[in-house]
């Protein structure tokens, strides 16, 4: 019964989204407050309806109701509760429902938190968000309905793919989708601004919090996925330039560019058209990602359905929404007020450079992702584009812009003194020299690339700290005065420093890990030892353990090394429901570095032996810590009083009272 109610709520949400769009547009046209209000009410109820639908699907999963096709295909009665819940978004249909939940949730958020927006702009934004709802909820309800029943329910479900049964992956889609869909608000705002024909500094102030929230959530989502790939797939890698990873990376890059260009629009009233374009591009990339991942055009762990009909519908949605937004931009952008002139050596000049590189980098990722698809469509010859392409095309662009980053943050608005900015970085430069010398002493890096990586990472971190030190006049005034200045800094400034430090931490971790990784693979019998770096691993025993829905072969690996003895228990888990074996990696964390052990397959012989693979991944923790620091920086910026939506609402209220008196 609850499932039928859920299906009904989904259809209801579709109708409500249509009403949300119709009423809001009618309200804007007729300047009718009650119509506008009704549109906003529809947005709130649409969210409630989708939330109800989502809850009823979750109920079906938790109670293992196998008469629902989606539950039968993706769940199993013996699965732990967390993975029963996570299986809701573990399938194509369920993940689209999660997308709808985020979409209507953000629609409701515009209504609840968008008090600072001018009335007309707000109505149109809510209306556009409603149109997006019509497209995506319509797709879910009519082409990918998760509530379909089966006439003869199976006794047991087919269970969720075991490699997806992981706590980090369970929470990866909600973050990722909130990030993806968070950009829908930015998209709706940009479309509304183009329709209203009014773009100014205030627009940038409204866009920034939404972009910050979406970008921070997306950062966390991507990091969770990358961390999962790192320890679950057992390949020791954390980023594979897989088309599906790229699909999430493109909106991230566009969002990062948007955050920076919106600052220029807000402070200097310039780059307005470009900021609007990036706002449209970010969500268009999100929808492109949804199409790539959900259409079955790619094969990957993320690609579920291979139903070609669904792919065509998703492509149609992408064409209508992204094409509509960008078409509107092409039509209306020439009428936008052009921004002021500015000098090349200035904060805004540096931010333009940042945007140019970020946009080109996003373009490179797009070329690498779409080229194989287009090539195969034309010639019929399948091909893949691997890491070497991205390392060169993307890596080089990023290296250039990151090198300039610390200088750019020290430039002042309008007309800056580049020499002065570089001079202020003397301490950072010294730190880099020291760090490189230290790297030579301790690690003896083999490649020039590793040295450059260490130098760049330290340069970014030290540069960000130098900027902070300059801001609080550390050393130029008394210490207590510096501390006072620090506590009075706007949170958005601290957020920027934190995010930039995060970039540096990531670069440092990624470069050291990629160049310093040591790998061994050896077939061992119990009692035998393999050496890796400074460590010795001994396979001391293998036992069988029973899990909730798997049987595992568990190895006991004794670790001997500079930091004393330790013990690791890597496993090979067999999931009978899927007839599938999955290795469970064991990781010994040494500071920022990982000793990573994979228990491989058994080889029969005179006595049984097992393949043991081990990796020494120096600084691997920093790769995941860096993006989390970035997201934290984003969240800190978001909490800035200037950006707080309530503050905007108060300002509007004050203005209205003033106007009334």
């Amino acid at each position: 019964m609850i499932v039928e109610l859920g299906a009904f709520a989904l259809i209801l949400a579709f109708a409500l989204s249509a009403a949300q769009a119709g009423l809001s547009f009618a309200g804007r046209r007729g300047r009718n407050a009650s119509l506008r209000g009704a549109g906003e009410g529809a947005a709130l109820v649409a969210f409630a309806a989708i939330a109800f639908a989502f809850a009823s699907l979750m109920t079906a999963f938790v109670t293992s109701d196998f008469s629902v096709l989606n539950v039968a295909n993706n769940s199993h009665s013996e699965k732990p509760l967390l993975y029963k819940v996570a299986a809701v978004w573990g399938s194509h249909e369920g993940s689209m429902l999660l997308w709808d939940l985020a979409l209507t949730g953000f629609g409701a958020a515009i209504v609840l938190a968008g008090g600072g927006l001018p009335t007309n702009l707000r109505s149109v934004t809510v209306g556009v968000q409603g149109l997006l709802g019509v497209l995506f909820i319509g797709y879910t309800a009519f082409a990918s309905n998760p509530f379909v029943r089966v006439p003869n329910p199976p006794v047991e479900g087919a269970s969720l793919n075991p490699i997806l049964q992981d706590p980090f992956l369970a929470i990866h889609p909600p973050f990722l989708y909130s990030g993806y869909v968070g950009f829908s608000v930015v998209f709706s705002l940009c479309v509304a601004v183009l329709i209203e024909g009014r773009v100014d500094a205030a627009f940038a102030r409204w866009v920034r919090p939404w972009a910050l929230a979406a970008w921070s959530l997306l950062t966390i989502g991507i990091t969770l996925g990358s961390f999962w790939a790192y320890y679950e797939l057992g390949w020791g890698g954390w980023w594979f330039w897989d088309p599906v990873e790229n699909a999430s990376f493109m909106p991230w890059l566009a969002g990062a560019a948007l955050l920076h260009s919106a600052i220029v629009t807000e402070k200097r009233g310039a780059l307005t058209g470009w900021t609007v374009f990036l706002g449209l591009a970010a969500f268009s990339f999100s929808m492109l990602g949804a199409f790539l991942v959900r259409s079955g055009i790619l094969t990957s762990v993320h690609a579920f359905a291979v139903d070609p009909k669904r792919g065509s519908i998703l492509l149609g949605i992408l064409a209508v929404a992204a094409g509509g937004g960008l078409g509107l931009f092409a039509w209306r952008a020439p009428d936008l007020k052009p921004g002021g002139l500015f000098a090349p050596v200035s904060r805004e000049g540096a931010l333009v450079l940042n945007n140019l590189f970020l946009a080109t980098a996003a373009l490179m990722v797009m070329v690498g992702t779409l080229y194989p698809l287009i090539y195969q469509a034309i010639t019929g010859q399948p091909l893949s584009v691997g890491a070497p392409f991205y390392n060169l095309a993307f890596g080089l662009l990023m290296a250039v812009i990151l090198l300039v980053m610390p200088v750019a943050t020290l430039l002042s608005w309008k007309r800056a003194d580049a020499k002065g900015a570089v001079q202020r970085l003397w301490a950072a430069a010294l730190t880099v020299v020291g760090a490189v010398a230290l790297a030579f002493l301790l690690q003896n890096p083999k490649t020039g690339f590793a040295i450059l990586g260490v130098a760049l990472g330290v340069w970014l971190i030290a540069g960000a700290l130098s900027e902070l030190a300059h801001r609080i006049r550390l050393g130029a005034t008394t210490l207590s005065d510096s501390v006072t200045r620090l506590t009075h800094l706007p949170r958005s400034a601290l957020g920027m420093t934190l995010a930039h430090i995060g970039v540096g931490v990531f670069v440092l971790g990624a470069c050291v890990e990629l160049n310093g990784r040591v790998e061994v693979a050896k077939v061992l019998a119990t009692g035998e030892t393999v050496g890796i770096g400074a460590y010795h691993l001994t396979l001391s025993g293998v036992s069988t353990v029973e899990g909730p829905n798997f049987t595992a072969e568990r190895a006991r690996v004794d670790v001997n090394g500079p930091s004393g003895p330790g013990v690791l228990f890597p496993e090979r888990r067999f999931y009978p429901a899927n007839r599938q074996t999955v290795s469970q990696v064991a990781i010994d964390v040494h500071g920022a570095s990982d000793l990573y052990v994979v228990f491989g397959e058994r080889r029969e012989g005179a006595k049984p032996t097992w393949l043991i693979r081990a990796y020494w991944n120096p600084f691997a923790r920093l790769i995941f810590l860096g993006p989390l620091i970035m997201a934290l920086g984003g969240a800190l910026s978001l909490s800035d009083r200037r950006l707080r939506l309530v503050a905007g609402r108060k300002a509007v209220a004050a203005a209205q009272t003033k106007a009334a008196t």
Partner: protein
């Protein structure tokens, strides 16, 4: 100085082009250059034979793992045969096979042919689901008339 346009608007446009063009140009040049080495073609064994894939060039070979062909050496090396039912390739791989590697099932390997004709795989691509046949393999098998799966090649949801 006289070469610069007089109106500030035109100057600004010129400036924008002067800054953006080299970066975009660099991007395009990089993309073209990097794509030359990084584009990896996919062949089935019979296609690889027909195309005379040069030794040492990185390609992907995909097909079915021939039944009874998998030999695992104690040194961790694995040998197996990939077939598309028309031609076969001997493959050698050093490392741990993906959890779903099985005889008679689809596989995609990336590597290069050695001078003795053996395909030395650097990667054996993991398949994530036992229902899942790598798309390239399924398409190639369908083309050669060896497909024995659902007619549309899709798994039903």
């Amino acid at each position: 100085m006289t070469l610069l346009p007089k109106s500030p608007k035109a100057r600004r446009r010129l400036m924008a082009v002067a800054v953006a063009a080299p970066v975009l140009g660099l991007g395009v040049a990089l993309a073209l250059y990097a794509m030359g080495d990084a584009a990896v073609f996919f062949y089935t064994p019979s296609q690889a034979q027909a195309k005379h894939v040069p030794k040492g060039r990185t390609v992907r070979i995909g097909g079915l793992v021939a039944a009874g062909s998998v030999v695992k050496s104690p040194d961790g090396r694995v040998r197996f045969v990939v077939t598309d039912k028309i031609a076969t390739d001997r493959v050698e791989f050093q490392g741990d096979l993906p959890d779903l590697f099985r005889e008679g099932q689809g596989v995609v390997t990336q590597g290069a042919f050695r001078s003795d004709g053996v395909f030395v795989a650097k990667e054996v691509l993991a398949k994530h689901d036992e229902r899942y046949m790598p798309k390239d393999v399924a398409d190639a098998l369908k083309k050669s008339g060896q497909w024995r799966g659902p007619p549309d090649g899709g798994q039903t949801q």
